[in-house]
């Protein structure tokens, strides 16, 4: 069965592809479990292929690109995408899935959009190809590009060129399109940031189209569209902002800035990690291409690896296996261990001259496996303390594997037995959450290069400083010898944070291979690797029991929490912790117990993802709240407002919540959805039933410490150096607004840089909704530090006491007076700084938990880190004024949020239509309205996916992901989102910049529980598991006897 299928025509008489499906066979030496046979996806190579690559047929092509004839020599099998990007350096066209599933590579061929990844370059001869680089005429932007800048059309920006090209093609045919036509036109491009409403608005604006539909027929008839409420013919409603009085006094908030990176993203000039290496001005050219040999088994150990044939293939430059790394590291997944604990784990890595050769070399690495039993069931693994995966225990703890009788985290407050004893009603529930993947359009990609003893890494990385720390420690190098660059990141959502040493350290593979070869080495995930072997959101199982009085008072809560951390711990313990804090921190309960376990399994590794445990807990808790309210016969809104924790209540018996306007956040959203229409399910009898559902609760708003660095150079220009990763969160613009306010310099006139370890201020990992509240506050303090120095210098220069001066409009002036002295003059007068203590105020010094010692320091040292200090000293050498700031997160800071959903459920089929989502967030201070609005759209879009479609399905036997593609995983497209109503509330925090709190993760929390509760409200049936896929809702209605069957329906 494992014969070479190409050498021997197969039996069926099909004309084409059947003959070429790869040979079938099992190269595993060991026993294959449970009646399972895995094809290795590779055939035994023919003798000639062992030493020589299959010859490519190369032609000299003349392509018409952006109105010019271009000569290029390319093999027949090379896609137009690779020729444009790698041969012609036109990297504005992005490579996403590379398989026609995401749309990021959209270009125009004779004026019509096509996927460049599914077009062969040779096939494009004679066609007019237009890329994003070809839209500008005489240095002037296309109106669409300008509109994308003006309307914050980009979040991460990775799909923006494709969106703009799709829009350009539409405008060629329909100069004044309707919103529906625009949604149709961009429906071939997935925006994982979920910025569709802004993209639609930008295209409509560029067309100068009125908001009202013109009645023109749609571009394509939408026969199935009528089965769903989408696509809608109207435009998306604008964000509703409730400013508090103090906002009026903040001058910078009265302006509406453009996104800092809008120009780079709308023109294709933004260089993402995968774009570097193909332009004349890049720091390196012609990298080697690396690929990983991955385990086809979910649990197996390597008996032997024979890589001799691969090494013999000409063009293969290096191969690394576990033998090439230190023994101490072998327990970690990341160091190519000789053990595979999930399907897809990397076992060996190969670097070759081309991607074709690297792929071919994979087939020539022969791995002999000892296949072991798989253990996919976390409840079973916990019950019998399964030590087969990790010998020290079945539970992941903060200090490593631990036995099943030691929870990862637990809390026991009050007297739980007494609490249940005094209850009138006991309500139990069991909730199961799904395996969502981050699925950034830009897959993980990096290039590593050594310059002497220094490692340089260009990475698609959310968090350059965390990545540097992990890489330095795993390589045993000093941190300052590792340099990480991440200008632009094509979507992160948590999945591109390298901050645990047992993540898939592809940067490390590239570094090892680069060291071996002395060449830059590029490692890029394929879409399938990204989805099937990357990290995914931890699936959880929650079992709970609540005691309640008849009036709705909660007397006791018991929670047993299991999280599937997969083969390795990674972020597992921290995810469990955040989930539990959410459970105990939401509703006032005198007696509660939580026992939580992160459990090892043979499944894909659980990882970091927007929401980070808190989301899973919110789904369970908010569904249970509705179940409780349903059983007590209380309106779920009133039940929540009666029991919710509020400012001053303790989060978990220790830290009190800070200010939040919960009533406004909940009630304003309730008004917008029309909650007064709420009726219990018993009132509904039609075939199609309408339901309303909601959630509310505290939202993440940061953690840990940040440094701030602001420099006023000798020309008086203000530079803001942010360590924050630019993963498309638009927070950088908000932070620039903060500095703009302090120094009185417009955002447009500042120079803002980010995410390069040698240049920008150190900050903790860019995660946990911390950019604006933490990095923003550190930047505020750094600006204040500049202000302080400016005033001192100004006083000297003007001969006026400091108290009578102010910083305003790029000048130091007398209060209320005119004139003064400009920054340029003062920057040139400034003496070199010798004291590097940062500026901070008492609210910025908060208790800090040292993760190494586990101890909390109530008054941590307020000094900047070595990295920031080094960057500051480099700047001082150039002169000017350097401002330093420091902030340590105040644990009582919490944003607040609510989400309301309206759905229709077809009782004959179980089909759920989400009609409307209202999402309200108290974020303290709205610094950048367009950015905040787009975060709400995007978070709610991902939350919608989490609720309705997204779940990485693992085959029950082999534990290999079966839907690792956009087609079967199904992130929402521009035709798949309902009306979304964003609402922003301002209730300032104690220590955030101008009171700002976090928002990055928050909007993803609401849709899944709110939609689930709306389904309960429509049907009376609680679906205790997400996603609410059609089959699941159908089967639940049927089991409850609520499905209207074929016979009954007429």
């Amino acid at each position: 069965m494992s014969d070479d299928a190409t050498a021997k025509p197969s039996k069926p008489a099909s004309p084409s592809r059947r003959s070429f499906l790869t040979g079938v066979g099992i190269t595993a030496a060991g026993v294959v479990g449970a009646g399972m046979a895995i094809r290795q996806g590779k055939e035994e190579p023919s003798a000639e292929e062992l030493s020589t690559p299959r010859a490519a047929s190369v032609s000299d092509l003349t392509l018409q690109v952006n109105g010019k004839s271009v000569n290029v020599s390319a093999p027949d099998h090379r896609s137009l995408l690779l020729v444009l990007r790698e041969d012609l350096g036109l990297t504005g066209t992005k490579k996403g899935c590379n398989l026609g599933e995401c749309g990021a590579c959209t270009v125009l061929e004779d004026g019509r959009p096509i996927y460049a990844c599914l077009q062969l370059a040779k096939d494009a001869v004679g066609k007019q190809i237009t890329t994003i680089e070809g839209l500008e005429t005489d240095g002037r932007l296309h109106p669409l590009q300008q509109a994308f800048i003006d309307h914050a059309g980009s979040q991460c920006g990775f799909c923006s060129p494709a969106m703009i090209m799709s829009g350009a093609a539409l405008l060629l045919e329909h100069p004044r399109p309707t919103p529906e036509q625009v949604r149709m036109a961009i429906s071939g491009v997935v925006c994982r940031c979920g910025n569709y409403p802004h993209e639609v608005a930008a295209i409509l604006a560029a067309a100068g189209a009125s908001a009202a539909p013109t009645g023109e027929r749609p571009v394509f008839p939408l026969a199935a569209g009528r089965n769903k409420p989408y696509p809608r013919s109207d435009v998306d409603p604008p964000v509703e902002i409730h400013r508090d009085a103090a906002s009026q006094a903040i001058a910078a908030l009265q302006r509406s800035p453009r996104p800092l990176d809008g120009y780079a993203k709308a023109t294709g000039r933004a260089r993402y990690a995968g774009d570097i290496g193909f332009h004349p001005d890049d720091p390196f050219r012609q990298p080697l291409f690396a690929k990983a040999v991955r385990s086809p088994h979910a649990h197996a150990s390597v008996v032997s690896i024979d890589d001799r044939k691969a090494r013999a293939l000409s063009g293969v430059r290096a191969i690394a296996t576990y033998r090439d790394v230190k023994a101490a590291m072998r327990g970690h997944r990341t160091f190519l261990s000789e053990r595979a604990r999930f399907a897809g784990e990397a076992i060996a890595v190969v670097a070759a001259d081309t991607q074709d050769l690297a792929q071919q070399a994979l087939d020539l690495v022969h791995v002999e496996w000892d296949v072991r039993q798989v253990f996919p069931d976390i409840e079973e693994n916990l019950k019998r303390d399964n030590r087969e995966i990790h010998a020290d225990g079945s539970v992941c703890g903060f200090g490593g594997p631990q036995p099943a009788d030691v929870p990862t985290w637990e809390a026991r407050v009050g007297n739980i037995e007494a609490g249940f004893a005094e209850a009138d009603v006991i309500v139990e529930g069991r909730y199961v959450t799904s395996r969502q993947v981050t699925l950034p359009i830009e897959t993980h990609v990096c290039t590593a290069m050594w310059k002497g003893e220094d490692l340089h890494v260009w990475d698609s990385q959310q968090s350059v400083f965390a990545a540097r720390t992990v890489l330095a420690s795993t390589l045993g190098m000093p941190e300052e010898r590792v340099h990480v660059y991440a200008d632009y990141v094509g979507g992160g959502f948590g999945g591109k944070c390298l901050d645990y040493p047992d993540e898939d350290l592809y940067q490390l593979y590239a570094a090892i291979l680069a060291k071996q070869t002395g060449r830059p080495v590029r490692f890029e995930y394929t879409l399938n690797e990204e989805m099937a072997s990357g990290d995914s959101r931890h699936p959880f199982i929650f079992e709970t029991r609540w005691g309640l009085k008849k009036d709705g008072t909660i007397t006791a809560q018991y929670w047993k929490v299991l999280a599937d951390t997969g083969g390795y711990a990674s972020s597992g313990p921290a995810v469990v912790l955040i989930a539990c804090l959410r459970l105990v921190g939401s509703y006032r309960t005198p007696n509660y117990t939580v026992e939580a376990y992160g459990v090892y399994s043979s499944n894909q590794v659980g990882g970091e993802f927007r929401g980070f445990g808190g989301l899973q807990a919110t789904v369970a808790q908010e569904l249970h709240v509705d179940k409780v309210a349903h059983e007590l016969g209380i309106n779920p809104l009133e039940f929540r407002l009666k029991n919710t924790k509020r400012a001053g209540d303790l989060i978990n018996n220790d830290i009190p919540y800070g200010a939040a306007d919960i009533d406004a956040t909940v009630r304003r959203a309730a008004e917008r959805i029309g909650w007064d229409r709420w009726q219990p399910p018993s009132a509904k009898t039609s075939l199609k039933r309408r339901g309303l559902g909601m959630m509310q609760g505290p939202m993440p708003s940061g953690r840990e410490a940040s440094d701030g660095l602001v420099w006023i150079d000798r020309n008086g220009t203000v530079h803001l150096r942010l360590g924050t990763g630019n993963l498309g969160n638009l927070a950088h613009t908000g932070m620039a607004v903060v500095v703009s306010e302090v120094l009185g310099v417009p955002v447009d006139e500042m120079r803002v840089t980010w995410a390069y370890t040698d240049r920008d201020a150190w900050t903790f990992t860019t995660d946990s909704s911390r950019s604006v509240p933490c990095d923003g506050k550190a930047a505020y303090n750094a600006a204040k530090d500049c202000q302080r120095q400016l005033l001192a210098l100004g006083a000297k220069h003007l001969g006026t006491p400091e108290a009578q001066l102010e910083v305003r409009g790029g000048m130091v002036s007398r209060r209320g007076g005119s004139g003064g002295v400009d920054f340029r003059t003062l920057a040139r007068l400034a003496p070199p700084r010798t004291d590097f203590r940062p500026f901070w105020e008492p609210v910025d010094q908060n208790p800090w938990l040292d993760q190494n010692t586990g101890k909390t320091d109530p008054t941590p040292d307020m000094v900047v880190t070595e990295a920031t200090l080094a960057a500051a000293k480099r700047l001082l050498a150039e002169g000017g004024i350097v401002g330093l700031g420091r902030y340590v997160y105040d644990l009582s800071t919490n944003a607040w949020g609510s989400c309301f959903a309206e759905v229709d459920v077809d009782m004959t089929t179980g089909q759920v239509e989400v009609l409307r989502l209202v999402v309200a967030h108290d974020i303290g201070r709205v610094l950048y309205p367009a950015g905040a609005e787009s975060q709400i759209h995007g978070g709610a879009m991902q939350g919608l996916g989490y609720a309705m479609t997204e779940h990485l399905v693992l085959d029950p036997h082999s534990r290999i992901a079966v839907n690792a593609s956009y087609y079967e995983y199904r992130p929402p497209t521009s035709l798949d989102y309902p009306e979304m109503v964003p609402i922003l509330i301002e209730a300032p925090s104690r220590s955030g910049p101008f009171g700002a709190k976090g928002l990055g993760e928050s909007p993803i929390f609401g849709p899944a529980p709110a939609i689930g509760n709306a389904i309960l409200n429509a049907t009376g049936v609680l679906i205790p598991q997400i996603p609410y896929s059609w089959d699941r809702v159908h089967d639940a209605l049927k089991a409850a006897g609520k499905l209207v069957t074929a016979e009954a329906r007429t």
Partner: protein, 359 residues
């Protein structure tokens, strides 16, 4: 595991100028060559190295394979569609929209604007199934194995009709239309041209597990011909399918032979159908003489809903008839553990399609 593969093994791209040349080249490179049309499926499979041809024969440069020819005024009116006609061309063609609205709708509902700009009629009809086990590293029946991994694993989108060891579904949106429309499929092989009924193009699992369609090796699908009104003496005399009577009708052709297509997919873009239905009617006034209903994505082939057709034929499209037909359409369905929802979905789609035709 071939997770890491997303670029093809090197191959040579050859562009023959005629069908004869293409067929000749195929046989010259027998066992090594594949035909390339729009590339949506073939390039995907080649890039994942599910197929490793050394030669791709690009059919796009063969002008004869492209375009829509309407011959409405002839004694036997027909619309003939070249197999390399793009989906977008089908969706926008005035004759297709008028005489074959189901086809125009189906073409406009495939995937995305980008795919419709390059995807072709022939490629859509002949595409391989989408079962993730078939496309993944599993040694299933269709790869010569002895196990259906989907049956024992994840099969939410699999067949509810005519499953036989294998439960893949026909993914094509155009396939149910050509079956419901009783079209003729023209193919060209080494022995020259031949014509087959649309229904015969597709191979059920019970007949052959290894293939989705019946074309011989090296044959090229050249055109699909819809007889807008059939010949009085049907060429193909199956008992259930006597063709459409040659009676004189006061209705114009496009009103007398209306058609409709409805697809349901989880997303409104990109996705393959969870289920689809195509219905073609022959009617005088409101009374239906004949009716053909084909379901997509519920069996390995476009699945004729014979029971529903019989309910409709000879009747007025009343609410009772329509609902009775909807119920009849799912008679005999055998859902698997995870796809029972498809039964209600099919019933709903058939009902809606008939309601649309009765309006």
């Amino acid at each position: 595991m071939n997770l890491q593969i997303d670029e093809p093994r090197p191959f040579k791209l050859v562009s023959p100028a005629s069908v004869e040349e293409a067929v000749g080249l195929w046989h010259e490179h027998r066992g090594e060559a594949m035909y390339l049309a729009g590339g949506g499926d073939v390039l995907d499979m080649v890039k994942r190295q599910l197929a490793r041809p050394t030669v791709l024969l690009d059919l796009k440069r063969i002008a004869a394979l492209r375009g829509v020819t309407a011959n409405i005024t002839a004694p036997q009116p027909s619309v003939t569609l070249g197999s390399l006609t793009t989906l977008r061309e089908l969706a926008e063609d005035e004759n297709v929209r008028r005489y074959l609205p189901a086809l125009a709708t189906a073409a406009s509902r495939v995937a995305t604007p980008q795919i419709r700009n390059v995807g072709t009629l022939g490629g859509n009809l002949l595409q391989e199934n989408r079962c993730p086990y078939f496309r993944g590293p599993w040694d299933c029946y269709r790869h010569g194995g002895m196990h259906c991994y989907a049956y024992h694993g994840f099969h939410r989108e699999h067949a509810i009709f005519a499953g036989d060891r294998c439960y893949v579904v026909s993914p094509s949106d155009l396939a149910p239309v050509i079956v419901a429309g009783n079209a003729l499929v023209h193919v060209h092989g080494r022995k020259g041209p031949r014509t087959i009924d649309a229904e015969e193009l597709f191979v059920p699992a019970s007949k052959n597990l290894m293939r989705m369609h019946c074309l011989d090796e090296g044959e090229v699908l050249t055109a699909v011909e819809f007889r807008v009104r059939e010949a009085p003496q049907p060429r193909h005399l199956a008992p259930h399918d006597l063709g459409i009577r040659g009676t004189v009708s006061p209705l114009p052709v496009d009103k007398r032979f209306p058609s409709v297509f409805i697809k349901f997919a989880m997303r409104n873009s990109f996705d393959f159908a969870l289920a689809s239905v195509a219905v073609f009617l022959d009617r005088d006034g409101r009374r239906v003489n004949r009716c053909r209903i084909a379901l997509g994505a519920v069996a390995a082939t476009p699945y004729r809903a014979f029971d529903a057709e019989r309910v409709v034929a000879g009747n007025l499209l009343s609410s009772e008839v329509i609902h009775e037909a909807g119920r009849a359409a799912v008679r005999g369905a055998e859902p698997l553990a995870l796809n029972a929802y498809k039964v209600g979905l099919v019933q709903k789609l058939v009902t809606e399609a008939l309601q649309e035709l009765s309006a």
